[in-house]
Subunit: 623 residues, 2 copies
């Protein structure tokens, strides 16, 4: 008996050691399945269910299996340990450890136990993430990769429109969703489904802001694969990436908006405080991200002999940008986004060729894994999350609100933008943009952050359903929709030279000039030496700051001002053929010769020399 | 007031969101510092403090800072929340969330609170890992990388000696440490420092087994950098890698050894059960790891078009080997080690060139990060772990025991081995092996697994001190010791042709023949087609299983039997110059031309064609 007891206690301990392994194994298994499916789809050029949709589907099935397979053993696994045993320390191992990393869920469970006496399912709890893992570990690589692979040229050419969609559009979307939802909430209160005091207008706006974050993953991957028109691609990419940042900060600002008295009335002071918060956080995060990137650029100057150290430093400093912003109460995602953009612009040029490859592949890989984990997890959450509240009216309202808001965002704004744009955004482009308003990881992540109260749980359930619906239906419908709207594909054999000139060029002409003359020489090995660009009295400082290799380029770069003002902002088919974002499989054989640089980050790294020489004739012919 | 309260609650929540960020930031900061230090050391060829030692030192300093900097705010941060608040759910956020991923510590804290009413330091708790993160996430890449980069040729040539050191040596070491410690424990009981019933002989053996795991990181990195004699390198590498596996299984077997009555007496049944456990677990883990690798090899056949998918699958399946073994109650580390070896042998050959690069660099990078995190963390643990028990007598005893046990392991076994070896292990090699018995991550990880009882805490503290001492003193002293012992360095300009012939060749000749004829053709694209190696009546099956590309090699490979039996087991300087293990920085410039393949996994992938052609003349001249 003694022995048996000892053995059992050893088994307990054993259980303890192996805990965590099972859950990770489930995720590994889902990811392996997803990869095999992607391979199958790629091989058969099947595009009606995108890999993200596939990942989500597998997650869903797995969630269903876990829920039903573990229900039988519910009573054993959920045994409530007496407080007595707590003191002995050892026997409590099991119950505590099963919750392992899932403290959040654990805490919820505790309060649940206390309040409702409800007993949860251990396996299901295990499969529920701590949102901080989501935010601190899974999201940064995705966002960083988005920023890092941003196609600067096209992005800046359409920057005016992108900013309009991202800032104004998101605000419009947030308010419209909030208003419509508020209407439905009023109706629900009228029907007695909800208490008046449970759901304020700020809650509706909160829901509106989190549902305004569109997903940059699914549609863009398809666009990229099909080589959809570059302008449309850039508009959508820029919008969905920046819009995430805006939505996150907006959600945060709304969550700390607190009118003094009646929460349903408008409080100007609190409102302006929220607006101030919004601007402050956005600017602060931007500054944080950029400064980390600049530090990386400066440090990477030194390390160029050791690719592994370079890559390590690059990775750690970029992640630190995120973590520092979070620790400082700013928004890490905004910081890491701009950190990515700045790293791509400066640091990337300082890396050794080997390092460039390593860094690029590392981030691609992390992005790939993180994305698939998130989508698997979203599928899982539908069944494993314990406190879903399905309210048909609210769900219906949310669906209506999301689509109406998207329409009120795209069509009026495009109309206004078209007044100023030389190259109008075509009707079919507008429909495609309307159609591409998928909701994805960010909306889900924002919703899962707070699932304390019943209204928040209802919001989470609804958000999850909208994500599932849009990813499957809209994601799957992208290819047919493109055909139906007759949106041209950029073919390698038919380079369309007749694309637009710089749209909002004057501001960026100034910025490019400054960047090229002063920042690039200081932060990278590229660009003209500072001795030529700074006034003469600055020469001692200039000499100190200029990299020796910059002098080598001096002779070639005499006409740089001309180049940056004209060439950087002018379309050049050579580079537009390689929309570099999200080559999710690193495929080199599948799409033919024009894709040799597919998967390249397109940041001028490898192609720097190539482009440089390519520019020479053009420059001369223009001179 | 209302507003303030709301604001405060928002702040609380805010705190919650940003929790986890600070701790991760601390680690990021330490790693960045470490990388910069490595760079500095590399640049100045400074070898007295190895990077692992540096990482540990930074961790130590950081631990000190955290301990003293946070002491002042101890009272606020450690507020004990009343049970009342637990029900409201929200206010408990802070206390719960600060422990986040560190459930284990949290539990300990709870029991501590209950038993001693002692109040911990919140920041310090935060910096204490959950051991399951250590085991499930940080160790697998290191061990996998070790297995993956194992130099097969040299390894198999010395396999007899390596197995003797790893199995017999570890057992000897474990018993000797156990006996010496038992002596000291008796003395401590006599002096009244310890109660008789607190420390059994099995506990001493437990300590012996965990202290028998030698560290493969520090010394080998230096050896590799200096190009120390290949035989010595292989012996030490093989010993320290396999010895980890043995020590882990041994520790586990001892922890479940349970004699029926008096725990100090010898119980034959329980003993044999433990031996059975040991063998069963070892064999099971081996089988688990190998079968995952075989599955990967078979799947990777299909995916060769998509490097990213290949790499992803490779990564996930290898990790799954670890997790499955853990979930099945086996030892993940043993599984992942053999998975690495098998992956390197079969799967690696199936990968596309791009994938080979990606996979190699990915594992190098993960290995690099994980190693440095572990060493930083070991430094941190000295100050942040809350329940250290420093017992000078026990510590002294442990130091004596560790050195005596190392001596009893190396010298007698080498004497016995030298009786059978054609190429004797020289005296200075023996001293070097004695000196290289560092204790590292595995010993630490095994010790931190269980710190429940006071004896276990004492063991943990002592193990940590031994790790710190050996890594700093022995790790730092490696270079002077090599000079002092006059151990020759393999110089590129002076290829030593007079190395040994196969030592335990007959067994491996059979294995190699079988592997080359049957397994390689089935599992990889390499090797002769099965149609030539299988008996004629198997032809239909053989045709089905043979990869089409294998036929291409058929003409060239007519003499393969001869090659494998002779060439594979014969030393060839070409390949021995590139000891491929642990190129921790991916440096390509630092060590000169002979290192072009440094960092290559050396698994015949890139060099397959090269070697193949190199073998042809040799083969012909022998024919």
């Amino acid at each position: 008996m003694e022995k048996l007891k000892k053995y059992v206690s050893a088994r307990d301990e054993d259980q303890f050691y192996h805990q965590g392994a099972v859950e990770l194994l489930v995720f590994n298994f889902l990811l392996i399945l997803t990869i095999l499916t992607i391979w199958l789809f790629k091989n058969h050029r099947f595009r009606f269910l995108h890999e993200t949709g596939g990942a989500m589907l597998y997650g869903l099935v797995m969630g269903l299996i876990i829920q039903y397979a573990t229900k039988a053993s519910d009573v054993e696994s959920g045994t409530v340990y007496e407080c007595e045993k707590l003191k002995s320390g050892r026997s409590t191992l099991l119950i505590n450890i099963t919750n392992q990393v899932y403290e959040y869920q654990y805490r919820r469970e505790i309060s649940h136990h206390n309040v409702n006496g409800h007993q949860g399912n251990a396996m299901l709890q295990k499969m529920t993430f701590d949102p901080s893992i989501f935010f601190n570990i899974l999201l940064p690589p995705i966002i960083f990769h988005a920023g890092y692979s941003l196609k600067k040229r096209h992005f800046f050419r359409n920057l005016g429109s992108i900013l309009t969609y991202a800032f104004l559009g998101t605000a419009i979307s947030c308010i419209i969703i909030g208003l419509i939802i508020y209407g439905f909430v009023k109706a629900m209160v009228h029907l007695g489904q909800l208490k008046e005091w449970e759901f304020h207008f700020t809650d509706c706006l909160f829901f509106g802001s989190l549902m305004s974050a569109t997903d940059p993953v699914t549609v863009l991957a398809i666009f990229h694969e099909l080589h959809v028109d570059t302008d449309l691609y850039t508009l959508l990419f820029g919008e969905s990436v920046l819009n995430d940042a805006v939505a996150i900060v907006l959600t945060y600002s709304i969550s700390i908006y607190s009118p003094k008295e009646n929460p349903n009335t408008f409080d100007a002071a609190a409102f302006f405080q929220s607006v101030g918060n919004f601007l402050g956080i956005f600017a602060g995060s931007f500054a944080m991200g950029s400064s980390y990137a600049i530090v990386t650029a400066l440090i990477s100057f030194m390390l160029c002999e050791f690719p592994m150290l370079e890559t390590g430093l690059f990775f750690l400093l970029s992640w630190s940008a995120f973590l520092s912003a979070e620790a400082a109460g700013l928004t890490g995602i905004v910081a890491v986004l701009f950190c990515g953009v700045t790293q791509a612009h400066y640091t990337y040029n300082n890396l050794s060729p080997d390092s460039k490859m390593r860094t690029k592949q590392l981030f691609e890989f992390m992005n790939f894994l993180a994305e698939n984990v998130i989508f698997c997890y979203m599928g899982l959450a539908l069944f494993t999350f314990q406190n879903h509240i399905f309210n048909p009216l609210f769900i219906f309202g949310a669906f209506v609100a999301v689509f109406v808001a998207r329409a009120c965002n795209i069509y009026p704004l495009t109309f206004l933008l078209n007044l100023g744009r030389k190259q109008k955004i075509a009707r079919n482009f507008q429909h495609m943009m309307m159609f591409s308003g998928l909701r994805g990881a960010i909306a889900f992540a924002l919703a899962i952050r707070d699932t304390e109260s019943q209204p928040k749980q209802m919001m989470f359930t609804t958000a999850l359903l909208i994500v599932l619906f849009t990813v499957w239906v809209f994601g799957g419908g992208t290819t047919p929709m493109l055909t139906w709207l007759q949106i041209r594909l950029v073919l390698a054999s038919n380079p369309d030279k007749n694309t637009t000139k710089a749209e909002s060029a004057w501001l960026f002409r100034i910025w490019y000039g400054f960047d090229h003359k002063y920042l690039k020489p200081i932060l990278t090995h590229a660009g003209p030496p500072l001795t030529t660009t700074l006034p003469e009295w600055c020469n001692p400082v200039a000499r100190l700051l200029t990299s020796p290799s910059a002098y080598g380029d001096q002779r070639k770069d005499d006409d740089t001002d001309y180049i940056i003002n004209n060439d950087e902002l002018t379309e050049n088919y050579e580079s537009s053929a390689h929309i570099p974002v999200r080559d999710r499989t690193g495929s080199t054989q599948a799409t033919g010769k024009e894709d040799i640089h597919e998967g390249d980050l397109g940041l001028g790294g490898y192609k720097l020399q190539l482009e440089h020489t390519a520019h020479q004739p053009q420059m001369n012919s223009l001179a």
